[in-house]
């Protein structure tokens, strides 16, 4: 692993530790065993989904179809299995096929045909949501016992989903940071033109980002189907903004390049606990949302503002290009 820890990881880990300290001091109910066991599975799912979003953002894109994929995976996993454990594997496999297909479509549209990421993933998202209605008619059903056990159960007192999140984070970050393909993937995201001049096939990496992102959403969706006892048909709607927010808070630039995958996962924990903390304080949805917006803004500001240039700009704020003509003609 990197000898020097990334700025994103240090920042978001510090913030998370502080958050837990503050939670203990001011809202101890939010760190009770029950509260933590309730919070962690959702943090785990958000972490897995946000890892996928990180891959896309590393290539300078954004993936709105996370909503459709998570929703359709939940719906397929619950509907197709229809409470029957023996059908679970087939249902999960079908969900994987759908997610993979969505990833390939996104990848080709954006990586190969050069469509804008927002438009293309908005299109696939709409198609996926159409699938959600076609399968469920908008009516949810509960999952199978086995899936509930896998997704929602505990092992050694820790929710199973946490193990999944930890393992996936480890695998993804290892692949991205330590393999040849992963290293090239990051370099293509950082500067595709430079990688083009070195003779690399850059489209392959761009397409790959959308494909592997969907695989992450699939896993997140399957776990979610087990965690939520009565899932809605639109379970994915809660994951678009938080997944992007977790990526940004983790210090990965929306312009692409190096990804802070571990930091993304920690940021997912941070965001989820932030909500728990606010709930425990009895703060309404409003303040919770405002706190999230503030955290996001501060996060972006910390990472993306070139503070030196801002100071410079303030110093010569009088010489703005838009200023009225103030040139005395001699």
């Amino acid at each position: 692993m990197g000898r020097s820890l990334s700025r994103g990881l240090v920042t978001v880990t510090t913030a998370t530790v502080l958050l837990f300290i503050v939670s203990t001091m001011f809202a101890s109910s939010s760190v009770s065993k029950g509260a933590l066991l309730g919070m962690l599975p959702f943090a785990a799912v958000l972490a897995i989904v946000a890892l996928g979003q990180t891959l896309v953002i590393q290539q300078g894109g954004i993936d709105l179809s996370v909503v459709g994929t998570v929703s359709i995976v939940v719906v397929i996993t619950t509907r197709q299995a229809a409470g029957d454990d023996s059908k679970l594997l087939a249902a999960v496999a079908l969900a994987l096929a759908v997610a993979a297909a969505a990833g390939i479509v996104n990848g080709l549209l954006i990586g190969r045909l050069g469509l804008n990421a927002i438009v293309a993933t908005l299109g696939t998202d709409t198609l996926l949501m159409s699938g959600v209605f076609a399968i469920s008619g908008g009516i949810p059903r509960t999952t199978t016992d086995l899936m509930a056990e896998i997704g929602g159960g505990l092992t050694f007192g820790i929710p199973n989903s946490v193990y999944f999140a930890v393992v996936i984070t480890a695998i993804t970050t290892t692949v991205v940071k330590q393999t040849q393909a992963g290293r090239r993937f990051e370099a293509v995201g950082a500067n595709p033109m430079a990688m083009f001049t070195t003779g690399m096939p850059i489209q392959r990496h761009r397409v790959g980002a959308y494909f592997w992102a969907q695989i992450h959403y699939w896993l997140g969706g399957v776990l979610l189907a087990g965690i939520v006892t009565e899932p809605t048909a639109f379970q994915g709607r809660a994951y678009l903004l938080p997944s992007v927010a977790a990526v940004v808070l983790g210090g990965t630039s929306l312009l692409g390049g190096k990804g802070n995958l571990v930091a993304t996962a920690v940021a997912a924990l941070f965001l989820t606990q932030l909500v728990q903390f606010a709930l425990a304080l009895g703060v309404g949805f409003a303040s919770r949302t405002l706190v999230q917006a503030a955290a996001l803004t501060v996060g972006i500001a910390l990472y993306t503002i070139d503070w030196r240039s801002v100071l410079g700009r303030l110093r010569r704020s009088t010489s703005d290009d838009s200023g009225p003509s103030r040139i005395p003609v001699g």
């Binding site: 954004i62 469509l115 804008n116 927002i118 159409s130 209605f133 040139i327």
Partner: protein, 837 residues
């Protein structure tokens, strides 16, 4: 420092001086681009500005035209001291500049490019604006149609357009920066004729060039620059070519070079080109021996960079490139050559990655066991390579941005060498590199060459080629005009060859060989083609639904569809502005909901009409404040539009719930009735929406702000050069986005009838869909408000029609999804720019 260059006959009457630049100094970093340079140009004179690459000619002219500010020195025009010159002020003073790289907006038409750059008073002077435009273009032999898009013009046509823009203002001072570089002989004759005409009318012309022959033909006097200093001024007929050349050459040697190849015992031929031709260069042949460094010389922009890119396998070529015994195709070269690009920042380095990551990336298989990269091996080999290049950095993990230019270039070299290339191709390898590191880079290139890997170097610095290379070919207009070997490789010989070459292109690259555009082809590539497609689609869909269910056209349904369309439509007009600017506004949805919640505190039955008005005003002010915040985050804090408006999205959601945690505040019935007033079955607000869209469309095409908006979205840098205020345009743009959201929110207020904090969010994605369906591109600069009407209309029609057809929600969404993907695909294929490198 006092220069002793000959000050030849001064045959100018000082009272007729049009422009005087006195003792101008400009430094970039520690380097003097200009040092105490002075220039005097009289009225009616054509004054040539001559000098080598990088002598400071363009810098001096950028100062004279206000796009660069001098550190020291003064500008006088007609005897008046001018302070703080900027591009728009320069235009007012009658200074027109023809840039070496035309400052044009690619997404806009020829006519619009003229309108945005040329003052309206000039165009309207002789009555009809369009015929004036046509005349000014005909005058320079520009044949394409006024409605052709600049993106589709050839290089020559773009230069002619740039020239026409400068000539039409009848400039008092006309500056031309190497105007003949891309032109064919016919166009050059035309250009010289126009220059003589401008001078005969009493205006001054400053003509930057590299070509002595042109100076003889066109100029009255000549000023020679070298190393940012004036080396001599003379009447053209009083000075010989040899004397001029002796003023141009003779820069001081700053760096030391490694010893050249010993030519007494030459090895075999290692690198051979046979008739290599490609875009921008033709018929280049060469044989270089083992150990020879090959230099590619010439005035910048004469095909050198294209030749090098072809050698790196990045551009196609015909002919044979042979290294040793093997003939290499473009594909082979792409895999096996190591290319050092001229611009490290855009094509060389991954600026956000570390030194190690940059150096290692093209040689990862060397450090790997299986698929995993061994960090230990990587560190050893990379640090060994960097050390052997004497790279100074704060360790392998230091960000590459923290290195000096010279050390950054060494990182690029380390990457090149680590990949064990078959050939090293270096374009401007020492640009922006300090003197000490230059010598080291020369030494490295020499040892690579000695090791049996061919090295090809292009440089605009002639002295560098003299010091480094064993064999130099001099290129002019894409052709090899001289080959110099061994002791013949001298600065003087290279400059003589480059500057004396005067043949102009027989056929200019890509000059009007294509079919002239027709009304049909312009329409298909124009902004209104999507409108026609959508209109047909809507009529078809409407007819189908009506045949299935005749209640579809009932008064009630048509009214409600129009009302829905107006709400979505107004907000989409705002989104169109954001997309035209090259940005996006994700916060429009929650903003519309938030504004309704704000309004719900004031516009209720308990309150007076005065309070209602206060409420509406407050809604508008909130909208403007949000828009300004978005714009400021993007412009000043450099947030990406997605990041800024995403944060705003979440914040507005929260703010709505701060104001109301559940629906409340029943909107006064008389207000909602007023808003939903209908004439016959048509809601008034729908009519207003259509009028607003048409008005915006007119503004976008015909008014100054509309052109400015599209100029900024199309090409920010060119927009700045022609005097558009980028900051004010962006801020005003995002405020306009929010203002249209405000208008949409008024209708939403009537539809909802209550302040509901959970409403509005969905509008964000719906507006993006509507705008994209309407044909506005997400890359900025191109789009239409009329298209947005139809985009919004189609969405509402699909949602509404689905209920009449008894469509399930699944089928409705399927239809929508296919529509979005198909529209994006079709539009991008017909006329989009490819985003992928």
């Amino acid at each position: 420092m006092v220069d002793t260059a000959p000050q030849e006959h001064e045959s100018i009457r000082t009272d007729a001086l049009r422009i005087v630049l006195r003792d101008v100094t400009k430094r970039y970093g520690g380097v003097h681009a200009l040092a105490d340079a002075s220039l005097e140009v009289a009225a009616g004179e054509v004054h040539a500005l001559l000098g080598e690459n990088g002598a400071g000619k363009s810098t001096l002219m950028n100062i004279a035209s206000g796009s660069t500010e001098a550190d020291e020195g003064t500008i006088e025009i007609d005897g008046n001291l001018i302070e703080g010159l900027n591009p728009s002020h320069a235009t007012e003073l009658g200074i027109a500049i023809v840039h070496q790289h035309p400052a044009l907006l690619p997404d806009m038409t020829v006519a619009e490019n003229i309108s945005v750059a040329v003052p309206g008073s000039v165009l309207a002077e002789r009555g009809d604006v369009r015929s004036t435009m046509r005349e000014m273009l005909d005058d320079v032999g520009f044949t394409p149609h006024l409605e052709d898009r600049v993106e589709d013009l050839s290089i020559v046509e773009r230069h002619l357009l740039e020239l026409a823009k400068a000539l039409v203002v009848k400039p008092a001072i006309l500056i031309l920066d190497e105007p003949t570089a891309p032109l064919d002989q016919e166009s050059v004759d035309m250009l010289f004729d126009r220059i003589r005409r401008v001078a005969a009318s009493g205006s001054s012309v400053i003509y930057i060039t590299h070509r002595l022959a042109e100076v003889r033909v066109i100029a009255d006097r000549v000023t020679v620059l070298r190393d940012g200093r004036v080396r001599g001024v003379s009447d053209v007929d009083q000075i010989s070519d040899d004397d001029l050349l002796s003023l141009i050459v003779g820069r001081k040697l700053e760096s030391t070079f490694p010893a050249k190849l010993d030519r007494t015992d030459l090895g075999e031929v290692l690198l051979a080109f046979d008739n290599v031709s490609g875009s921008g260069f033709s018929e280049i042949s060469l044989s270089a021996h083992r150990g020879e460094i090959v230099g590619i010389a010439g005035i910048v922009g004469n095909g050198q960079s294209h030749l090098l890119r072809a050698l790196a396998g990045l551009e196609d070529f015909s002919g044979v490139v042979q290294i040793g015994d093997s003939v290499l195709s473009a594909r082979d070269l792409r895999a096996q050559s190591a290319y050092m690009p001229p611009d490290r920042h855009t094509e060389g380095l991954m600026m956000s990655l570390s030194v190690r990551e940059n150096a290692a990336v093209s040689a990862l298989e060397r450090f790997s066991r299986g698929i995993f990269v061994s960090r230990k091996t990587e560190n050893e080999i990379v640090s060994g390579e960097l050390a052997s290049l004497n790279t100074k950095s704060a360790g392998l993990e230091a960000p590459v941005t923290s290195l000096s230019g010279g050390n950054q270039q060494k990182v690029v070299m380390a990457r090149a060498l680590l990949s064990e290339p078959a050939i090293v191709v270096a374009d401007e390898p020492t640009q922006g590199v300090d003197v000490g590191a230059r010598s080291e880079i020369y030494g490295i290139l020499r040892s690579v060459s000695a090791g049996g890997v061919p090295v090809v170097v292009a440089s605009s610095d002639t002295l560098e080629l003299e010091g480094l290379c064993d064999r130099v070919i001099v290129m002019s207009r894409g052709e090899n005009v001289a080959e110099l070997v061994g002791d013949d490789v001298t600065e003087e010989a290279i400059i003589h060859a480059a500057m004396r070459a005067d043949g102009h292109k027989r056929t200019a690259a890509g000059a009007s060989s294509r079919q002239p555009s027709t009304a049909m082809s312009r329409f298909i590539r124009g902004d209104y083609a999507p409108v026609a497609v959508l209109a047909l689609l809507m009529i078809g869909l409407g007819t189908y639904i009506y045949t299935e269910n005749d209640r579809y056209l009932s008064a009630f349904n048509t009214s409600s569809v129009m009302l829905l369309c107006a709400a979505l439509g107004f907000i989409s007009l705002g989104q169109t502005i954001a997309l035209l600017l090259g940005g996006i506004d994700l916060s429009v949805g929650p903003l519309s909901g938030f504004l309704v919640v704000v309004g719900s505190f004031f516009i209720t039955d308990e309150k007076s009409a005065f309070v209602w008005i206060v409420g509406f005003v407050l809604m508008g002010l909130c909208a403007l404040a949000i828009g300004l915040t978005n714009g400021a985050l993007i412009r000043f804090l450099k947030f990406t539009p997605v990041a800024a408006t995403l944060a705003m999205f979440i914040a507005l959601q929260g703010l709505s719930f701060v104001l109301r945690d559940s629906p409340g505040g029943i909107i006064s019935r008389s207000v909602t009735d007023a808003i939903t007033t209908k004439i016959e079955r048509v809601p008034v607000v729908f009519v207003l929406f259509i009028l607003a869209a048409v008005g915006m469309e007119y503004g976008l095409r015909r008014t100054a702000w509309g052109l400015r908006l599209r100029a900024v979205g199309s090409d920010e840098e060119s927009a700045r050069k022609i005097g558009v205020g980028v900051t004010s345009t962006l801020l005003a743009g995002y405020m306009a986005v929010s203002f249209f959201v405000f208008l949409g929110a008024i209708i939403l207020l009537a539809q909802l009838g209550i302040g509901d904090p959970a409403q509005g969010e969905g509008f964000t994605l719906d507006t993006i869909t509507a705008v994209v369906l309407g044909g506005t591109l997400l890359v900025g600069g191109r789009g239409t408000f009329i298209g947005t009407i139809f985009g919004a209309g189609l969405i509402v029609q699909v949602i509404n029609g689905a209920t009449f057809l008894g469509f399930s929600q699944a089928r409705e969404l399927l239809f929508q999804g296919i529509l979005i993907v198909a529209a994006a695909l079709v539009y991008s294929q017909i006329r989009g720019r490819r985003a992928v490198a």
